[in-house]
Amino acid sequence: MKKFISIAMALTLCCSCITIASAADATTLTTTVPDATYTLNIPADQEIPFGATETDIGSVTVTEAAGFAEGKDLRVTLTYDGSFSADDVSTSIPYTINKAAMQSSTIGGPSDAPIKYPVSSGDYLVFKGYYNGSVAEGFAIDADGYNVTNKHLEVVILSEDWGKALAGDYSSTITFTAEVVVSES
């Protein structure tokens, strides 16, 4: 009987050891991907002087970004109705928005002469995510693949459109929509 108990105990001990050994072999790896956070900086109000055909209205930048990565970007879409209107005046003033872009595909390249061209309502800028969790703060890539400096959004009003507008206080607003997206390329 003693022998039987001894063998049973020895077997139990062996099993326990095997269990422990096999449990020790299994390594569970886990990770948590945090929500990305950021501060989107958009132009505030801007008084457009009467008769001005090109007015710098400021820039779109992204700061205090965290939780991004290469392949996880921030896309900012501009939406605007394209005309200034006034409450008590029947006329409106059409406008477009220009942005400054670099001609080369790399910032700082030899042919980086800035050019200006119109931004349609619905066009977007992409702030590329970096490996360190932030995004490119100083420039973005637009829908056409241009590197865009963020310092030159301009409201463009043709001189003849100023001429057609009756006297009044006109206004218009631009909406900037930011969205965290998976990189397109």
Binding site: P34, D35, A36, T37, Y38, T39, L40, N41, I42, P43, A44, D45, G58, S59, T61, T63, E64, G67, L74, S171, T173, I174, T175, F176, T177, A178, E179, V180
Partner: protein, 163 residues
């Protein structure tokens, strides 16, 4: 002095040193917590936050809008424990609205001063447990004058998680 008294004194000394050591450790830990908290975000619940920057300077040329990839809400509850912030560097009022993807208004704040938080969010309807992608936080911005003239506005798309 007898050996027993010496031993007693030795024990006493040890106790005093141990107590002192514990006190020093407690002090260091407390100091560490205080220093750490100075750099923690103002708004934590919901998984995202705009960091309070004491050095933030007012900037009337641009509007700073906090963005989040996702927010976590309490499922099946109108009362939430989240408040959203108008960053201190702004010089305009915020009115923040939260919409579901289908345009259902879940919450709208009052006018929020720069550097202030909204009241805690109270939803217009309870959200069952689940994930709600493509929700929208709309930031309407207004001049801080009598007429509260509308300024440019911003929207951030995010995923709501009701847990």
């Amino acid at each position: 002095m007898s050996t027993t008294t010496q031993k007693k004194n030795q024990k006493k000394n040890i106790v005093i040193w141990v107590a002192l050591l514990i006190a020093v450790i407690c002090f260091c830990v407390s100091a560490g917590i205080v220093l750490f908290r100075q750099n923690t975000p103002v708004l934590i619940r919901g998984g995202g936050a705009a960091t309070e920057n004491a050095a933030a300077e007012e900037n009337s040329d641009s509007i700073a809008v906090p963005g989040y990839e996702g927010l976590t809400l309490k499922a099946n509850s109108l009362q939430q424990e989240i408040a959203l912030r108008n960053p201190p560097q702004n010089t305009c009022y915020f009115v923040i609205s939260l919409y579901l993807e289908d345009g259902t208004l879940l919450w709208e704040s009052d006018y929020i001063m720069p550097g202030s938080d909204s009241d805690q969010i109270v939803l217009t309807q309870e959200l069952p447990q689940g994930t709600y992608p493509n929700a929208v936080l709309k930031y309407s911005c207004f001049k801080m004058d009598k007429t509260k003239t509308p300024l440019n506005s911003a929207e951030t798309k995010l995923t709501l998680r009701a847990k």
